[in-house]
Structures are given as structure tokens and as C-alpha cells.
Amino acid sequence: MHNSIYDKRVRISDNVIRVLIYLSAFVSVAILVGIIGLVVIKGAPHLSWQLISTVSSSAKNTFGILGNIVNTLYIIVITLLIVTPLGVGGAVYLNEYAKGGKLVRAIEFTIETLSGIPSIIFGLFGMVFFGTVLKLGFSILTGALTLALMVLPIITSSTQVALKSVPESYRAGATGMGATKWYMIRTIILPSAMPGIITGIILGIGRIIGESAALLFTAGSSYYLVNDFFGHIFKPGGTLTIQLYLSMTKARYDQAFAVALVLIILVFVLNRITHIIANRMNKEKG
């Protein structure tokens, strides 16, 4: 009887491991729920129109993050203006022109390396090179140039993935009809890869919004409003994340949680947008 294959042997170790697997998955979700819950509970009471529409004033003893929001937008726009052409162009070269070899391998290795370098190292390099050597000092431009290096691997690899998913028949078709390579890239390959490129840009925005260590010593922490639209990029400016850190160091946790809530809402919205794009891409393919 006991040799029957219908008798299922119950392994205790199997059950223990199964419980551990469920527990791990539960912990991973519980951490997220806990963090978001805490930030919402502690941040929501301090979230107000005044917070996001004014600048902090010590005379009136008020706290506002409008200056930080504007700085964050400046840094996002300038960083993307610098990095998007470089990242997309580099990916086009690697995927459409390059034919292997040492140089390509070196470039691919350095892209990997860039994505592994910690942000504090980018901060040190940005401070020395853009800040001191190029004499840009503590400024939004220094911060944006530093972040451009950080975001470069994100844009490049997203674009590469998107380019790889463009069917080979499109290329064969275009060259067969007599299109030159540049004409084909411009009119067929890049438009087909556009959703992937946009996903890369949004991931880049997420990285910029969350960044602090690379900006602390490059863009500084000023929170004043813009007087001079173009001149502002040569002035120091702290992003939302930097303001959150400063509030923390001053033990103003009420302010910190309010900013944290704003940040988490932004992260959530960006996350949803990437999902919508990804779903649309899958539908088109299916």
C-alpha cells in the first residue's frame, strides 16, 4: 500500500519552504504598503495649497515648495534636452550601424558601468568637473549636466530595447524600396521605436525626481523663485528631494512628510504613465 504512487507523501520541508516563499512575498508588499501608508498619514495633514503655491518665508514663518518645484522642472527639462539626443543617437549607432568589434564592446561596457556608479560619485565628479573646471559653480546647469551622465544609460538601453523590437522586415522593406539608411532611420525605425524611447525618458524623469546625492554638491539647495528665465540656470537651485533632505536634517518632519507625499504622488503618476504606454505597445503588437 505504501508503495502506491497515489499516496502523496507530505514533505514537511516542502511546507516550511512554501510558507517562507509566501512570507517573503508578503513582506515585500507589506513594506511598500507601510511606507506609502505612513507617508500619506503623516504627510496629508500638512499638504495644502499654500505649500505648493508659495516660497518659504522666514518673516511670515511659512513653508512652501513652489521654488523647489520650479527648480525640479528646470533640471528635468535641461537634463532631458542634453541626454535624449545623446542616448537615442548612441543607441541608434549601436543597433543600426555598429558591426561589433572592440569599440562597440567598450561602449557597451561603459554604459553598464555608468548605470552602476553610485550617485554620490556622480556628485563628486560633477562638482569638480562642471562646477570647478568648467567654472559653472553651484548651479542648476551643473546639476543638470551631472544628471545627464546618470540618466544616459537609462535612455540608451530603453532605446536599444525598442530598436531591437522593430521587425527586421521593416528594414528590409525600406532598403528594398531604395531608401537610404538615414532616411529609413528617420522615417521608419525611430517612429516605430518611439513608445520605447518615451518610456526611457519617463524612467529618466523618475530618476531625476528621486535624486539627491548627485545634486547636493552640484545644484545646491536654494529655494527662491525665478526672476530671470534663462539666467536662472546659472543660479543654484534645490529640487524637491533636496528640500526633503534639508527638512529632515532640521528635524522638521512635518515639512519632510508633506514633501515626501508630493514626491510619492509624482512617482506613482510616472509609474502609471509607463504602464499605459507599455500596454498600448503590447496591444499594437498583439
Binding site: R11, S13, D14, I17, R18, I21, Y22, L23, S24, A25, V27, S28, V29, I31, L32, I35, V39, P85, L86, G87, G89, G90, V92, Y93, E96, Y97, A106, I107, T110, I111, E112, L114, G116, I117, P118, S119, I120, I121, L124, F125, V128, L149, L152, T180, K181, W182, G210, L216, T241, L244, Y245, M248, Y253, A256, A260, L263, V267, F268, N271, H275
Partner: protein, 310 residues
């Protein structure tokens, strides 16, 4: 009109445009290479003067850090140890949870549960590191302080930290490496060929046996890369742990207030001058070297994985 329609006439300009386009793309691609070479150059250029001035032995192999004394000392050995112990601790906690969650997502979960867990992991990766620090201060530090009071109540030699200690930092780091470990392990597990799994199940292996004796060993390289990437993430994190870890230079014991390579730079760069500032750049160089070693190990692992498949 004829001119425009002909494919022959403007072939010269066409080829010039083609060449220019290729060159522009090539230059774009070269930027990553240039950036890494320049960063390496500048890290060495700004990190070595202190080593020459103060002495390699006095910086790397001494554990007395006292930059503002009349006779300043710049030993960073304790800081290096702290970064190593901190990352190891984070890996010890984070990797088992991460790999088991990856197993859950790829092998155990129903598609509905996966639809809840997967986005949660994604969001976890998107939360800014300072927010983790904020949570650490308000949630983990008080708990640690209670533990500290409990353990060291009768120990007059212990310096109380208010809960800002190595253990708090390790917990934060473990949470922060979770998304990296989960995502990479999950895709490694998913890329294990289906016939291995069916073979094991057909021979009478239970689901758990199949996962741990067949699937995970087959996904070894991927999981190993996940761990190495996790180490890189943990050793490079600064803002999440700077206010949580107590920030004084000590031996990396669980309830000591400690300083990491990253937090040493963050906490003193704003006011350091002269030799002190140069030593902070040396700390940056040490961190950079760690990261480069990790990167090279990672490339080796991925390459060995490719060779196996080929």
C-alpha cells in the same frame, strides 16, 4: 522637377548626408565611453593627492578619524569596514527575501496575485532614497533604541545612539536592494527552459523540489548577478542612511553609531577644506574602486553565463 525626381543626380549629397549621420550617431555613442574615462581620470586625480600627502598607511590602514584636531588624523579603516559589513548585512537579509519573492512571482503566484505583487515591487524601486531615510528615522530608529536600552541597560561602557546604528542602516539597505534582487532573479528564473521543469515534475519531484533542485540551480548566473548588483546598490547608497546610521566613526558593530564611505562624503563635504577635503575625495576614490571591482565581477558572471548557454 527632373532634378528632384532623379535618383542619380543627388547621389553625391545623399552619400554626404549618410556619412554625416553615421558620424553624429557614432559621437553620441562615444559619450558614455568619454564620460567613464573622464570620471575615472578625475576620481584618481582628486583622490590621490591626500594619499601622497598624508600617507597611504595613515589613511587606509588606520582607524583614527579626527580631521579637526590640532594634529589631524585621517584613518578611514573603520569607514571601509562599515561599508563592507553594512552591504554584507543588507545582502544577508535582502537576498533571501528577494529571491523567494522572485520564486513566488514566477512559479507560485496566481496571475491575480502577481498583478498585485509585481507593481508593488516596481513602485518600491521608484521611491526616492531620502524617503527611505525619513521612514528609517521615524520608524526603525525608535525600535532600535528600545532594543538598545534592553540590551545595554547594565553596560556603562556602551555609548547610547538613540537607535541611530549600523543595524538600522542595514535594514534600510536591505529594503532598498529588494527591487533589484527581485527583478533580476525573476527574469533569470523565467528564462530557465521549460523542459527542465517538466522533466523534474515528470520524474516525481514535488513543486518545491523542482524549484530548489532544478530551477534555481539553472538560474544560478542570473541570481548571482542580482546579488552582485545588490552589493553595488548597497555600497553606493548615501542619502537613505546618512541620518539613520548615527554618523560617528566607529567599529561596525550592530548597535554602534557608524559612518559609511558614502555618508562620510555627504556629511562633511559641505564644510571641509584643505587636506580634509582631499581625504574626502580619497574616500570617493576608494568607493569608486569598490564599484569598479563589482562591475568587473558582474561582467565576468554574465559572460560565463553566456558561455554556458552557447
Amino acid at each position: 522637377m527632373n532634378k528632384v525626381l532623379s535618383i542619380m543626380i543627388n547621389s553625391k549629397t545623399k552619400s554626404r548626408v549618410e556619412k554625416t549621420a553615421e558620424w553624429i550617431f557614432k559621437i553620441c555613442a562615444l559619450f558614455a565611453l568619454i564620460a567613464v574615462v573622464m570620471m575615472t581620470g578625475y576620481m584618481i586625480y582628486s583622490g590621490t593627492p591626500a594619499l601622497l600627502k598624508v600617507g597611504i598607511k595613515e589613511i587606509l590602514f588606520s582607524n583614527v578619524w579626527n580631521p579637526s584636531a590640532a594634529n589631524p588624523q585621517y584613518g578611514i579603516l573603520n569607514i571601509i569596514f562599515t561599508s563592507i559589513v553594512g552591504s554584507a548585512g543588507a545582502i544577508l537579509i535582502g537576498v533571501p527575501i528577494g529571491v523567494l519573492t522572485a520564486v513566488y512571482l514566477s512559479e507560485v503566484a496566481s496571475s491575480q496575485m502577481a498583478k498585485i505583487v509585481k507593481p508593488a515591487v516596481e513602485l518600491l524601486a521608484g521611491i526616492p532614497s531620502v524617503v527611505y531615510g525619513l521612514i528609517g528615522i521615524l520608524l526603525i530608529n525608535p525600535v532600535m533604541y528600545k532594543l538598545e536600552l534592553f540590551f545595554f541597560k547594565n553596560d556603562p561602557t556602551h555609548q547610547f545612539t538613540g537607535g541611530c546604528n549600523l543595524l538600522s542602516a542595514i535594514i534600510i539597505l536591505a529594503i532598498m536592494i529588494l527591487p533589484t534582487v527581485i527583478n533580476i532573479s525573476e527574469s533569470a528564473i523565467r528564462s530557465v527552459p521549460k523542459h527542465l521543469k517538466s522533466g523534474s515534475l515528470a520524474l516525481g519531484g514535488s513543486q518545491i523540489q523542482t524549484i530548489f533542485k532544478v530551477i534555481l540551480p539553472a538560474a544560478k548566473t542570473g541570481i548571482l548577478s542580482a546579488i552582485v548588483l545588490g552589493v553595488g546598490r548597497a555600497i553606493g547608497e548615501a542619502m537613505a542612511i546618512v541620518l539613520v546610521s548615527g554618523n560617528s566613526v566607529n567599529l561596525p558593530l550592530p548597535f554602534n553609531s557608524v559612518r559609511f564611505l558614502t555618508t562620510a562624503i555627504v556629511s562633511e563635504m559641505s564644510y571641509a577644506t584643505g587636506t580634509h577635503r582631499q581625504v574626502l575625495f580619497t574616500i570617493g576614490l576608494v568607493l569608486f574602486i569598490f564599484i569598479m571591482i563589482i562591475n568587473i565581477i558582474l561582467t565576468k558572471i554574465i559572460k560565463s553565463g553566456d558561455d554556458q548557454h552557447a
